[in-house]
Symmetry: C2
Subunit: 246 residues, 2 copies
């Protein structure tokens, strides 16, 4: 699917200009960074939704200096996280803030959202749940989403470090792309896959405990940095490629 | 080392009764849960420290409803985290709080600290840095600590779920115990060890960016739950062992 076609098909789904732009930019960034599973093929996927509500928009329901809760309110998770990121940039925390996003799905590439925070000088850590696709490596029912954890740290050298790690050994995007079968999706780590499973369970229950709606959700920690560790870390790393480097 | 001997040797290091008790309880819990690397052999390790300051105690230097910063102030990290946990239990956040612990090392089993929060009904997520022991799986310098991430979620059934995952393929305790050589310490995950490496880098820089002292540190998210997801998750998991189950 070409960028132009993707954009046109999003508008055909009745998203307004602004919302279609938010979705398009996310999918386009995914394509450009080689994560096509989060790219334009998601437009096709959205076209299969029977309960898509293109006009729905998230609401901020609790707003305190160190805490916010948002309710997706029927909007796509992409639009919730875009609104949340914009709100943090407009009014950054003095020190730090926990932002809980209830009823928030799908959330796409989490690194994309925290990278925007880090490019504006804020530290971000974000996780999100999704349909159960990972079970214990020894077997049993699917218990958790792939539950990525993304962390972005700004740098005075202009290049934030952005780690974005799913607990799965492959992405659901790979499944959507036909490159893998859903049954192959398992916690990453081979002989130590119990570790990724434990992280997936911890992140799942962490989000579930903070979101009263019992749907999928996301939790963001956003903070103002007190130090600038990235330049000296890059020096130490020398030629080692760091997470999120392009 | 017997429990009695460990306790006596801690007091011989000039920790007062309360501090020796905090350290003893931590090491004892590690022994009982089979994580001997964090157990009594740490007393021997502390005996080798040339700059141990048994009388030092942490200070809370910023205290707001949604944010705290603590300064270890020369105290052992165990004592910092004990004080932080006690402070959260004495004055839990209305919704959520970010707690940054600067100059905080060593921190032991992170699951121990968040379990105490969850046993009192609070959700906790905790990470901490330590000396550089993990490099990129393809080689290069040691760049990050083993940087565990621990998450504890309370349950109305009385049994919290506690995930506590180090990004290393073995523990530094294993090295101290002579069961492994330090050179074998690497990110866990085999063919996908780049994922654990990315998490270790993200957590390292996250903590480093929030702690101005440039030493080791810890960052805790503590929150009041809005839902009780553990009982139904346990039902779904059936006979699957969940993280932190004893």
């Amino acid at each position: 699917m070409s960028p132009d076609e993707a954009r046109a098909r999003l508008e055909a789904l009745a998203f307004d200009d602004v919302a279609a732009g938010v979705l398009f930019e996310h999918f386009h960034a995914a394509e450009r960074s080689g994560r096509e599973g989060h790219g334009f093929r998601r437009v096709e996927w959205l076209e299969t939704w029977t309960e898509l509500r293109p006009a729905a928009r998230p609401r901020c329901v609790v707003s305190e200096p160190g805490f916010e809760r948002w309710d997706g309110n029927g909007a796509l998770g992409y639009l919730v996280l875009d609104a949340v990121v914009q709100a943090q940039l407009a009014a950054p925390p003095e020190h730090g803030r926990l932002v809980v996003c209830d009823d928030t799905f799908p959330t796409g590439m989490l690194g994309y959202w925290v990278r925007r925070l880090a490019e504006a000088g804020l530290v971000g850590m974000l996780t999100a749940t999704s349909p159960p696709r990972l079970g214990h490596p020894d077997g049993g029912p699917k218990l958790t989403g792939t539950n990525p954890l993304a962390i972005a740290v700004p740098s005075s050298d202009g290049a934030p470090v952005v780690a974005d790690v799913s607990m799965g050994n492959l992405t659901y995007g790979d499944v959507l792309a036909g490159r893998a079968h859903e049954d192959e999706l398992a916690p990453f780590g081979g002989e130590q896959a119990h570790k990724a499973f434990a992280l997936a369970v911890g992140l799942q229950l962490f989000v579930d405990a903070l979101t009263p709606s019992r749907g999928y959700g996301a939790v963001l920690v956003v903070a103002r940095p007190e130090a600038d560790p990235v330049p000296s870390f890059r020096d130490l790393a020398a030629s080692v490629r760091l997470p999120g480097d392009r």
